[in-house]
Symmetry: C2
Subunit: 206 residues, 2 copies
Amino acid sequence: MPRPAPDTRSRLLAAAAAEFAARGYAGANVDRIARAARVNKAMIYYHFRSKAALYGEILRDMFDAVAAGVQAVAASTRPPDEKIRRFVEAIVSAAEERPHFPAIWLRELAEGAAHTDAATLRHAGAVLAALGTILEEGRRLRRFQPANPLLVHIGIVAPLLLFLASAPLRRKLDRIATANAAVVSRDAFVAHIQRVTLAVLEGRIA
Amino acid sequence: MPRPAPDTRSRLLAAAAAEFAARGYAGANVDRIARAARVNKAMIYYHFRSKAALYGEILRDMFDAVAAGVQAVAASTRPPDEKIRRFVEAIVSAAEERPHFPAIWLRELAEGAAHTDAATLRHAGAVLAALGTILEEGRRLRRFQPANPLLVHIGIVAPLLLFLASAPLRRKLDRIATANAAVVSRDAFVAHIQRVTLAVLEGRIA
DNA sequence: TCAGTTAAACTAACTGGATAGTTAATACTG
DNA sequence: CAGTATTAACTATCCAGTTAGTTTAACTGA
């Protein structure tokens, strides 16, 4: 039933996100995306303008979501330590709603955000800015020590992204390797990042 | 001067590492690698078997170097806390001798090590194993609390990789963004990771 | 000491297959 | 019937890998 444009568009977005995450922008194949979405390839060019535009749409959606999440946290009325916990949680849950986000973000970092347009880049910058706001507030309230926002940000985002993005690899290794006991649950990992970050901010490190 | 086979091979390796780091395996272009190395494209197929073999060689060299470095640290006679500091330092200096390592490693993680052969994968696993040895020793000597090696490993490697791999992006952003004061030196960053890791291991968190 | 031989190192030009993007025609629905 | 959604088949380009032939350094032995 053509007119109501079923879910072709969203099916394409989902299939494309999986493909881009698994193979990167250059490695992604438009025919394969169409096949996975069970849709004619030409629909990609009907609903989106090009492979690049499709990718851009996915990126934009991802960074919009994260930026919105962490900005809400920063603007809320909570004690600073609680804001930090929720900042971490906001990133993780945005990533879990979009399972391909971590891998795609990692790749964009690796190639200097080559496929990221200025607007999306600003949204990404807003995540760092939101963290900066929280740190500043914590400092004003004498709860946090001075800390470089970039350093704190990397300390949070890098482990989260790597942990989430490497899930497929870890599963693969567990199947091969000899009883690799090094398995960590999502919750344990998040809690660990929250604790470590707060220890840093509250000056409980060395 | 054909016979002495000047540095064609090493020039190709260098150019290829840069290309793979900047664009990923699929995005890398063999003609561009040859041009950058100022060498005829056919030389790639003369000195290496294929694009994949060239990439594999680069990966192998990288993981060999890191594995050797951290294994030397683990085998040395130092107190556990010093071993941890040197473990971090070993990874950073291997990465600095091979500036394209971090971006390439990040990508491999993002795509589940799709282009990594079994031997190279074992070397990568050896890095985690070396850390495990250090943690165990520290525990035996009552210096470290019990800790999940994978969790500690990600806490070290993820920030290092992200910090090193995002250097080009950060430079790009600094040129655009309005007085982004969030600049962190290499040494400050490394020292921070060392301190945080030891705080975790010595049970000084939470 | 040097003509002749060998094999490694190298090149220009080509090939074939993959793939992003197009088009013209068709189905459906309000 | 009007316009949105969809399709099969096509095109043009790009790019990994090949090939047939050339140059050069190192060696041979007379």
